[in-house]
Symmetry: C2
Subunit: 419 residues, 2 copies
Amino acid sequence: MASTLNINTSRINADLMESCQWGSTPDGGMNRLTLNDDDRRVREWFISQVKKYGCTVRVDAVGNIFATRPGTNNDLPPIGLGSHLDTQPAGGKYDGIVGVHSALEVLKSLHDNKVQTYAPIAVINWTNEEGARFPPAMLGSGVWAGKFSPEYAYERTDLKGVKLGDELERIGFKGNVPASREANPLSAHYEVHIEQGPVLEAENKPIGVVTGVQAISWFNVELRGREQHCGTTPMDRRADTLLTAAQMIVAINGIALSIPGSLASVAVINSTPQSINTLASVVQFNIDARAKDDETLARLEAALEKKCHEISKEAGVEIRTWDRFWNAKRTVFNERMVGFVRETATENGFGNRDIQSGAGHDSVYTASRVPTSMIFIRCKGGISHNPAEYSSSEDIAAGAQVLLGATLKYDAYLKSQVK
Amino acid sequence: MASTLNINTSRINADLMESCQWGSTPDGGMNRLTLNDDDRRVREWFISQVKKYGCTVRVDAVGNIFATRPGTNNDLPPIGLGSHLDTQPAGGKYDGIVGVHSALEVLKSLHDNKVQTYAPIAVINWTNEEGARFPPAMLGSGVWAGKFSPEYAYERTDLKGVKLGDELERIGFKGNVPASREANPLSAHYEVHIEQGPVLEAENKPIGVVTGVQAISWFNVELRGREQHCGTTPMDRRADTLLTAAQMIVAINGIALSIPGSLASVAVINSTPQSINTLASVVQFNIDARAKDDETLARLEAALEKKCHEISKEAGVEIRTWDRFWNAKRTVFNERMVGFVRETATENGFGNRDIQSGAGHDSVYTASRVPTSMIFIRCKGGISHNPAEYSSSEDIAAGAQVLLGATLKYDAYLKSQVK
């Protein structure tokens, strides 16, 4: 069936540009923070679109929108095709948005071709995936999966002290359907997303077959040495906190390079006092540690901690804080669904490779409850969360085409399972 | 003569504690920012003291106070004995203050012993040495030396936007004597100061014979790499700005260690954006580079620049800014005055060593105009600009004793020069 149905390249790209009128910035990027007026407008546009294509719309109590097109067996929960329409404050037109548009385009293709699926299909816009206005990220899908309560979500505040619950009411998207997987069950969840990394581009392949999401830990580290005068303290009589931090940063990089399948990054640093001629006494930095599996992450973490403590001891600079404040186990996507993505990409002649997601997505939470997988599309330079974010029209179309084919394969599978 | 005149250990230490009542903090430190009400009170106390010992007082247009005790030849400009009574906001009782008290104690000893010097003696309190409230540092002595105009000094503002000139008027210390070396000539300048470093303590010597002040350069460096997602960007496809900065900081330390007589410190760093999972794209840091002489500093600077550019090239991270925004040549103190300090310390049985000052002092500016040298006294742990700053009563007395002896030797030298 995949070979006969084709998505419409110009339509999906025109739709994408149309919806990006709300929140676009002069530099070509987007600023559509969750639940602001531009988010309200694009949500209204989304609903007007799906209604044209025969969907019923349910908005849950945290603003997740489920637009459901009936199948022939409506006793089955729908196959969800979701992502998010919110962006970073200086984000691009592709992260999340392309996923919702791919789902919309699947809906439109099915409609044009008068294809009746076996299971219903639900196009989903998850609320507050970015978490840029209301941390934490992936909040709407997290509530759906039961990781957070709706009340927890309502109490999240932005920098001005405005609550997410109040903004949901203000823009009219606090729905009357409970926010839960029980009230809005799904049979499965597929998501198209830009890679946000440079691997597909480097290998000249438009499609990534996402097999799972890396294990992740975040650390906060605080070092304390001595405030000393840079002009009067001999080089060999210092407890130089910033030098010690620098040695750790270099070592952290070296350790990640030496452990296959691991990543370790220090992206944030702060030193106190900010005085050119007084050695810093306090330096704070964060470590973002990731690995292909939980065992590798544990190995990485142990090596980082051991080495940093050795450096600390040698330098006479104390590690005052070594706090792993967040850890997420590896997510493994549903093997059958991953296989359908791989098959469809190959059948359509799209170069593809298996890839693990380095970043979190709504699909991490859906995967904790229902069969889930993702389709990555190539993006320019691996750039994301940036106005320069870009994927070509052809790659966007390829992603939607793979979503369409894989969805139909999964739908056929669901049908085959009924006795 | 030095062997017969002794300064009064209990008096100088009691005086020090008395004057530190203005601006003292509960932690044992001081907060006597230039020209605040505590600075006014200690200035008034200083004037009341010197008047008791037969001095005439002149306050110049930037608040420098010259308290002059006549000699037998008052056609000669006075020998200046100076330092400063202002402190850092979280400073100690010793930096600067001990220098003024040493000069006061010399005055009192001469008076007690009815010693008439050949040249007049001027006890000097220089305005705004710290520069903590009104940058730059050493402003009063800098105006005297003609490095800054009085108008430039008046326009310096504190964090609240208050001008130095207005504060001088408010506390009644904008004197009617022009602020210049021509209006207030000196024959020479001696200054006692705490070492602010750990060398004397480590060698168990109370006195440092200061031969000069290191050459200093300050650099501002800005690196620009790529904002990349820490989870999606492979370790080998990064332009990691903070990692590059860390490599430079480690290299800068190594270079200074390899060049005898040099120091290089990175005490300030800032990274942007402050996002745990986004590699920093901009990192700014400063380098404080010092050396025993100008040639060594030039060698150090060349080595730092070469190595950092190599690291930058290797990392694919651009050095956007490499700005040497301040340079001070080495100051060499007057050989005869330095010799008198060394002789006096040795005659009095005070362990001593030649030492270069790592930090700037009012004596750097006086040295640009008249024969100058300094006497360092040992301080605990090399700690300075901190409430924990400390020098023992005995070491304070030793410093004043050396100041007294060296001053009398220089006075005898001046007398010997007159035909």
